[in-house]
Amino acid sequence: MEETGRAARFWIQAALLAAVAALAGWLIFTAWTNIGRLPVHFGLDFLSEPAGFSVLQTLIPFDERSTYGRAFVVGLLNTLLVAAIGVAFATIIGFSVGVARLAPNRLLRAVAAGYVELFRNLPLLLILFFFYFGVLRQLPPPRTGFEFGGAFLNNRGLFLPDPQGGGWFLVAALALFAAALVLKSRWRVLAGVGAAGALMAAVAMTHIVWPEPRGLSVFGGLRLIPELMALVAALAIYTAAYIAEIVRAGTQSVARGQGQAAAALGLTGLQAMRFVVLPQALRLVVPPLTSQYLNLTKNSSLAVAIAYPDLVSIFAGTTLAQTGQAVEIMALTMGVYLTLSLATAALLNWQNARMRA
């Protein structure tokens, strides 16, 4: 009986799978023939055509002669930039607020709870507009902007002195410093010395390009556009409210005896948190934290509302409007978000598995 039941179940499953596969195949076939019937040229050759437009912020050189394919990369890099900075700030703010919600100080607890309730319950787009238009209106125009130590702040953005030249040594210094944190004993010392050396070389080779107010704006230097700052602030502050709750829940789920035992051993409250409670809480925190990182990345597509040139704005916006290749462009854009999300998830799943082992 058991055997026949299993066989029957197998065949039902197989038939269902075949039906689903047939349906999918038929859908793809129909879509394909319908697309073929439309008097529109399909394909990806448009990616090598010159784009003809310019972009407000680019991490790689881009001008009107560059191709749509390069515009795609520019948008992708801008999305990644916002996501990376946003994730970093959201994590810092989120963990601080989450820990503060459990602090012995009642005022601190209340402030943290207020933060979470306020930002978790406001639509992200409103927060974004608030930061963008609210802050933009307060800032003075370039001619009367603030100046401090060679840096300029006005409604065109924050203009910082731009250190140039020693880039690779700086990267090496950072890498060695990171290595020093991970490695042990002799290797740690070696990496530390290397990091210091690389840092000195970087400083020696660097020359600073100072921003300079001229004509209608400020030129030269490293420019942080208001759109980037508003987007990062809104994404980080919004997502941090969720991360704070995740951290609080994770921390509270660690058995109370653990904290009491740490106190009995003479650890201070912060030490107990750092060495006993948080490491255990992290195992619970990482999976939901992953979803928040993914949400932040996907939410960054709201950028188009405030003119930050992200992937959706440049590629699924301007490029789509100019070429009309809607199906290809939307498929590519969805592919990017899917890949980003799956990659982040895979990375954190790996970290999660490692932590549990």
């Binding site: 349906l23 859908l27 129909t30 879509a31 023939t33 319908n34 019937r37 439309l38 008097p39 529109v40 040229h41 003809g52 437009f53 310019s54 972009v55 407000l56 009107e64 963008y132 238009f133 933009l136 209106r137 125009p141 409604n155 065109r156 001229r214 004509g215 209608l216 704006s217 030129f219 208001p226 759109e227 188009v304 509302a305 405030i306 003119a307 040139p309 704005s313 699924a316 916006g317 301007t318 789509l320 409007a321 100019q322 070429t323 009309g324 809607a326």
Partner: protein, 338 residues
């Protein structure tokens, strides 16, 4: 749960089966309504009033097409579309006519599977700046940052203009024109740019509109034209000749008020042909011979439509400029009905 799944499958099938179609005119007649793609709100061209009624030049054009078919200008379904969605909506059959301030360019006309029927408004892209900048001409805008909205020819025109004069610039492109205007108002940009026709309407929205000036330079040609799908020549002719009929009506002094009377009276041969009293012009586009009479009776001639929505009778008070008739100092010229 399972039933829901089946429902979704059925929906997906419907979506993919919708490809095969009869002639557009037969579809419209069977549906009893014309599906017309318009903007999400642009004063003078297509916008809704407080009670949700659509009004504007583009809206009245669709009403004219509906009246030519059904003898009833109210048989239109207006579909508000973003500039990103507009051509896809037309290609996929969601709308029958795209009457949405779309620029007739070679790319739009040839590569997107749509055809433009004729220019309904000759526009150009303009620039607005603060008076305190003391700029007299667009040529003094070197280094400017320009707020505009994305998804139109606007970005490209700005790029072409500054690039061809080797002037540095930055473009700040928003999804919606209202946000672009707000950012300009907050002095995020030195310049706000869009088609000249909507520039004056946008300027009125600014808190201190007298502090801003629209520069005399037009940096592009923007022939705005209604569009239809490429695969139905009869439908294309119907929409094209509705536009020509409205323009010819102005030239022949046929108005909303006198159209009926003229069609019965012993009028000039050109008027009689236009109004279907002579000849057999309606049949070739699948309509009755008095199709133009029905359209003009419903919305008036081109001049009346312009005055009502954009010109002296409207709050915008836009000068007709290039959009005057060819024999009146403009470039508006429609082929004759004969």
């Amino acid at each position: 749960m399972k039933r829901q799944g089946i429902l979704y499958c059925a929906l997906a099938l419907l979506f993919f089966c919708a490809g095969a179609r009869a002639g557009t005119l037969d579809e419209v007649k069977a549906r009893g309504k014309l599906n017309c793609g318009v903007t999400q709100g642009l004063a003078g061209f297509s916008s809704t009033d407080a009670s949700g009624n659509w009004a504007g030049l583009d809206v009245d054009f669709c009403r004219a097409v509906a009246a030519a078919i059904f003898d009833d200008p109210s048989k239109v379904n207006f579909v508000p579309l973003s500039s990103k969605q507009r051509f896809t909506a037309l290609q996929s059959g969601e709308i029958d006519v795209l009457s949405r301030v779309s620029t007739w360019t070679m790319q739009n006309d040839t590569a997107l599977g749509v055809n433009f029927v004729g220019v309904i408004y000759h526009d150009g892209q303009g620039l607005m700046v603060r008076k305190k900048l003391e700029v007299q001409s667009a040529l003094e805008l070197s280094g400017a940052e320009v707020c505009t909205n994305t998804g139109t020819t606007t970005e490209l025109n700005i790029a072409d203009f500054f690039r061809s004069r080797s002037m540095p610039y930055k473009i700040v492109a928003f999804e919606k024109s209202d946000e672009a205007l707000k950012a300009y108002e907050a002095e995020r940009c030195d310049v706000y740019s869009t088609d000249a026709s909507s520039l004056s309407a946008q300027r009125v929205k600014l808190a201190q509109s007298e502090d801003h000036v629209i520069l005399p330079d037009l940096i592009s040609k923007e022939p705005l034209a209604p569009a239809v799908r490429q695969n139905d020549p009869q439908w294309e002719s119907l929409v094209r000749w509705t536009l020509f009929a409205l323009i010819n009506a102005e030239e022949l002094a046929v108005t909303k008020a006198n159209a009926d009377k003229l069609s019965r009276a012993d009028a000039a041969p050109g008027v009689r042909r236009l109004l279907g009293a002579e000849g057999d012009y309606g049949r070739a586009i699948g309509l009755d011979n008095d199709w133009a009479l029905k359209a003009i009776r419903a919305v008036g001639n081109y001049g009346e439509i312009f005055d009502r929505n954009l010109g002296q009778q409207s709050p915008l008070k836009i000068d007709r400029g290039l959009n005057r008739l060819w024999n009146n100092g403009g470039i508006l010229f429609a082929p004759p009905v004969r």
